[in-house]
Symmetry: C2
Subunit: 333 residues, 2 copies
Amino acid sequence: MENNLITLKSSPKILSSYSVAGNKEHNGPLGNYYDEWCADDKFGKSSWEKAESEMQRRALRGALKKASLSDCDLDLILAGDLLNQCVSSTYGLADYNVPYLGLYGACSTCAESIALGACLFDGGIISKCGAITSSHYCSSERQFRYPLEYGGQRAPTAQWTTTGSGAFIIGEKGNVNIEQVMFGRIIDKGISDINNMGAAMAPAVIDTLVRYFDQSGTKPCDFDLIVTGDLGFEGSEIIKDLLLGEGIDVRKNHVDCGLMVFNRETQDVHAGGSGCGCSAIAMASTIIPNLSSGYLKDILFLGTGALMSPMTLFQGETIPAVAHLIRLTHSEE
Amino acid sequence: MENNLITLKSSPKILSSYSVAGNKEHNGPLGNYYDEWCADDKFGKSSWEKAESEMQRRALRGALKKASLSDCDLDLILAGDLLNQCVSSTYGLADYNVPYLGLYGACSTCAESIALGACLFDGGIISKCGAITSSHYCSSERQFRYPLEYGGQRAPTAQWTTTGSGAFIIGEKGNVNIEQVMFGRIIDKGISDINNMGAAMAPAVIDTLVRYFDQSGTKPCDFDLIVTGDLGFEGSEIIKDLLLGEGIDVRKNHVDCGLMVFNRETQDVHAGGSGCGCSAIAMASTIIPNLSSGYLKDILFLGTGALMSPMTLFQGETIPAVAHLIRLTHSEE
């Protein structure tokens, strides 16, 4: 491979997608589109972490059911989340009797899992796989920031971790084609503010998008949408400005999952949504169904992740980030 | 795929491997075989976490140099470690200008990264990639157990996290052939003792090995070695006993990386070594070179991971585990 653009020859498809959302997400702009939601953010479990695992369990079960499959039809599960040691995924998916690969790409994990599944399908390594990711506001807050009980004040640039899980089944049938994949490089431009992830991740999006347009010979207006997940308000403004400086105008068709999932005017989420679950539920509930129906024909999805930990920031490091790109098209089958 | 055994058609090879080890590891049985070691376990850095990143940086640099390659020859880096949010990998490898996928499989990550790289090569998705993993005794102890300063007493069944990093370059040339891959399922037999990971991981090894022998039509005596990484003394005894109950005798050719890296008689490591770096440095320093020279002809390598976090155990959960298998053979090129 001379460059890093991967064009998939065998047209892997997304067979089905399924979204499980929390209560605040249900009250947001995409509320009517989620396959399942729960008024109790504990999903009937005794801890936030167990609730997050339960969302993953339900998301995969739902995606399998939609595709009329059972777990024994899957060759592989690719999954990850934000919790230390990615435990939402391992505990949530342990009951499925399927080979399992754990991934960690922070909020880019949804894109990472779909892209990797598509590559493995294209190579003939698997014939069907599941890609599942999640995040939970309460488990993330206490792990990355403060326990909820502390009542810490949020910065205006901070994003709100989405409570949700999305599952995607990848295989040979369906109307949503995975055309191309470009994996991101680690980009660190020296941002160290844990309350401004959008700014830390924006340069990674720019790196991947500039490489993609260059290597694919496409331009922004070739796509119905350029979906990032999830830069929030700050990061979205930054990429639009900086890309314009490179002669690339994404102002007309850029949308961000962090801005789709919540209403910033009414839901007090500051810069918008974030977390592995944010792009997962936005894609599973809205973007993928619209590609399947043909309302959307050709889109780019960039999953963005901030790859620091609380400890690295305490030790004076800055925030490295990554953005993985997937080109999805409608296909008439 | 009717079953989960993946036979690679294009014969991906391990072009080079490189090991970076700590001081205690250098004083162990494989001490003379490591490519690089450091008397100061901080590797010249200001924290254990930064030292672990530095080991990964050096391991990849060394593996690239051995193969006469530079980072721009790589299409992809697959990496992971034990630290929260896998930060040893992201900070250690951020300087390499290569698309990056983060993995989390606990101590199975070394096998996961090599197996996934081989599958992506086999599918024509990449032509060369790096697989890098690490662990560090000091960063792991304070994250998973107690700060070193606390001086906690160790249980006899506890393993000692290895300080080390191993890097492997996968591509089309070389004398070490990656023949087959079988990804593991998540297996949880109800073990909840964080000081007995070997017992928690042993059932995952048995699940993968039994499926492998069944689906491949091979038997233990077909292989020069069956290498697990890393069950330690407890887990090794358990798999030998339980496999015998299934009519599978691995007593003659089973070795465990946790028992190779340290001398249990003289090094006070209790049940042996563990950590992503344990199988990484044992494979990179000893097993791979012996396969390359032809001293070993045909082996199985099973990377084993315990997929809990301290928090899940505090919340009363048991320890799920996974074991990924790779069959490696000598090839005359």
